[in-house]
């Protein structure tokens, strides 16, 4: 069995999940439920492909994907914080909006449900350092063929962990998620903190979409996020709203996806539809056996109206 290839596919599948999940984590630790990850990812994927199509540079694609994610995250913030709307309803609205917007735009630009092929993000290539004794082959083995955004995810998860636990900003974020009334009383700007968290969340979810579209396949097709935003959200729950366990959960799901691909290669008569079911069935199975809500921020998803009624 080709283990190196398997690991590569696993890490590549885990990368968009982990980016989106870290985004979800930021939003949820500040108290805002984020089922809009799916929509931001989808919209980010389209933005990435369009910018790459126009400029030819996939990194500009990543930039536009980040902006696209931020735009939808801002809408989510306005709904949840300023209009005091139900976070889940707002998230559903954003997902539906993203579904319509992407389908409408991709049809408008390419007169089809899919875009044309564009350039993909380059993979690390350290084969030229393989000549260095001892260290060279090791670096080559570990990094060559790896998605650069995967390294970014490792960095982002560690940074998030440090930020939430050891900085004043992190303390403010957690205060907003646990008890916004007390946070306000202690002088924390709850709306501002949540807005910042949602911007980060949108940027990461948009980048997740860019990785999805430009990491391997190099095109956009309708509904290509295919539930990954929700799997990422499930990973946030399994990781109990803590960055490093969340990253671990995403790696697990990434490797589950890679296993499904591998299973399909090995057992070719298996119908595609059944292979597609595997990640969802697995997520569901884990939701059923895990203690779901432990570690959840106490005021997650509570509207101001509710907090005023039942403090």
């Amino acid at each position: 069995m080709d283990w190196a290839g398997f690991i590569q596919i696993g890490l590549a599948s885990a990368t968009p999940l982990a980016l989106a999940a870290l985004g979800g984590l930021f939003s949820e630790r500040s108290g805002i439920v984020n089922i809009a990850l799916e929509g931001k990812m989808l919209f980010g994927a389209l933005c990435a492909v369009l910018a790459t199509y126009w400029t030819g540079d996939p990194w500009i694609g990543c930039g536009l994907a980040i902006l696209g994610g931020i735009a939808l995250a801002t809408a989510h913030f306005i709904n949840c914080q300023l209009f005091d709307a139900d976070h889940v309803v707002s998230g559903a609205a954003i997902n539906i909006l993203a579904l319509g917007l992407t389908g409408f735009i991709v049809f408008g630009v390419f007169t089809s449900k899919s875009s044309v092929q564009v350039a993909t993000l380059p993979l690390f290539d350290l084969s030229n350092v393989a000549g260095i004794p001892l260290l060279g082959p090791l670096l080559d083995f570990v990094f060559t063929g790896m998605a650069p955004l995967f390294l970014f995810v490792l960095f982002a998860a560690a940074a998030t962990s440090w930020l939430l636990r050891h900085t004043p900003f992190g303390l403010r974020v957690r205060a907003c998620g646990e008890d916004p009334a007390v946070a306000t009383a202690r002088g924390v700007n709850v709306a501002g903190t949540r807005f910042l968290c949602l911007l980060v969340s949108g940027a990461l979810a948009g980048l997740a979409g860019a990785q999805l579209a430009l990491g391997d396949v190099g095109f956009f097709t309708e509904r290509m996020s295919a539930g990954r935003g929700f799997i990422a959200l499930a990973a946030v729950i399994f990781g109990r709203w803590r960055p490093l366990p969340v990253l671990a959960a995403c790696l697990f799901f990434g490797f589950a996806e890679a296993s499904a691909v591998r299973l399909k290669l090995w057992w070719q008569v298996m119908p595609d539809e059944l292979a597609l079911i595997i990640p969802f069935a697995l997520t569901l199975a884990i939701l059923l056996v895990s203690r779901g809500a432990s570690g959840m921020p106490l005021s997650l998803g509570r509207k101001q109206e509710e907090i005023e009624l039942h403090p």
Partner: protein, 349 residues
């Protein structure tokens, strides 16, 4: 002046009207931005939706599954639950109904059996997310989405593989003649059939249950304030389980209605997203059966007209989802804005 104030303070109807108009305005700008004339697009929507008798029948038949899925969502929303799993429940309901309708023949009662089987399938499919919510604490939306993907892929596999009737289309074998709802052949409307009226009857039943039965009261109490409901002796947990199951059953019935009213078998393309449309239908209809039927007619018209739109103006049917997204956000915005306006007017008066 007083009337205006009262309407502004508690005017859900106004919210819905404003939301639709606002969404139409935003959509006009989007359509104009890509070089179409908004008036032409609007007239295509109206011509394709209610232009002649045939398109009116088409609109009513497209509204039918939306009434079911809208009622499904509305029932769950009333209990404070979000059944985003309507699409999956619609698929399993439709598939189960198609199999029952093909393999079992009860004469003219076949169609009733199909509805019962579909309702049971939808009910069962809704049990997993609500169990995860109540016993594991994870939001039902995540479980629902997982169940959606499982249902859709499972049904697609079954209809493409084991239960495929003929090579040319992805359809199951046809249902028994007794599995069809009667059509209104006498007025020349062969595509229009009694399934639409069944959806209206179900809407009346849901209204009756919500506002006339003790269970409906318990359901609304559990949704409005679970703590108070539990304190007054309502078993909140079992109320929520039953509500979510009934919500799934309604979505499943929508699938059966499609099978015995439109296609006569399970067809892989039988839903353009009716289960998701139900979210907007319920919210726009203010979770009230009458509002749901009205909103379903609006979106049924859009779904029916979208074919003409795609054909004449080369605009994707996804424009409907865009419209829905804007409608929901406008609905979310309408209440605080309406209240702020009311407060300012009251201050001036």
């Amino acid at each position: 002046m007083k009337d205006i104030l009262r309407q502004l303070r508690s005017g859900p109807l106004i919210d819905s009207l404003i939301a639709v108009l606002l969404a139409a305005a935003v959509l006009s700008i989007v359509v104009a931005a890509i070089g179409h004339n908004p008036i032409t697009v609007l007239s295509l929507f109206i011509c394709g939706g209610v232009g002649d008798l045939e398109s009116i029948y088409g609109t009513l038949m497209s509204s039918m599954p939306l009434i079911f899925s809208g009622l499904s969502l509305a029932l769950a929303f009333r209990a404070g639950l979000f059944n985003i799993g309507g699409e999956g429940q619609l698929f399993v309901g439709g598939f189960a109904a198609a199999l029952a309708g093909h393999y079992l023949n009860l004469g003219s009662m076949t169609v009733v059996l199909m509805m019962a089987v579909a309702a049971a399938a939808g009910f069962a499919w809704a049990m997993v997310p609500i169990a995860i919510r109540l016993y594991r604490g994870a939001h039902e939306v995540i479980g629902c989405i997982m169940m959606n993907y499982i249902a859709i892929n499972l049904c697609l596999w079954l209809v493409r593989g084991p239960f495929r009737a003929e090579a040319s289309t992805e359809k199951t074998p046809p249902i028994q003649p007794g599995g069809w709802w009667p059509t209104l052949d006498t007025v020349g409307a062969t595509d229009f059939n009694a399934a639409f009226f069944i959806s209206l009857i179900i809407a009346v039943l849901v209204y009756w249950m919500l506002f006339r039965l003790p269970f409906g009261f318990e359901l609304r109490a559990a949704g409005a304030n679970p703590g108070a409901a539990a304190a007054s002796g309502i078993n909140v947990r079992s109320t929520l389980i039953l509500t979510f199951g009934l919500s799934g059953a309604l979505a499943g019935l929508g699938g059966a209605a499609e099978v015995s009213g439109v296609f006569g078998s399970f067809y892989s393309q039988f839903s353009p997203g009716y289960g998701f449309d139900g979210i907007t239908v319920a919210l726009l209809g203010r979770n009230h059966p009458v509002g749901v039927v009205a909103a379903a007619l609006l979106f049924g018209m859009m779904r029916n007209a979208s074919k003409l739109l795609q054909f004449e103006a080369e605009i994707s049917a996804d424009i409907i989802f865009l419209f829905q997204g804007i409608v929901i956000i406008a609905l979310l915005a309408a209440r605080p804005i309406r209240r702020a306006v009311a407060a300012r007017l009251a201050g001036r008066a």
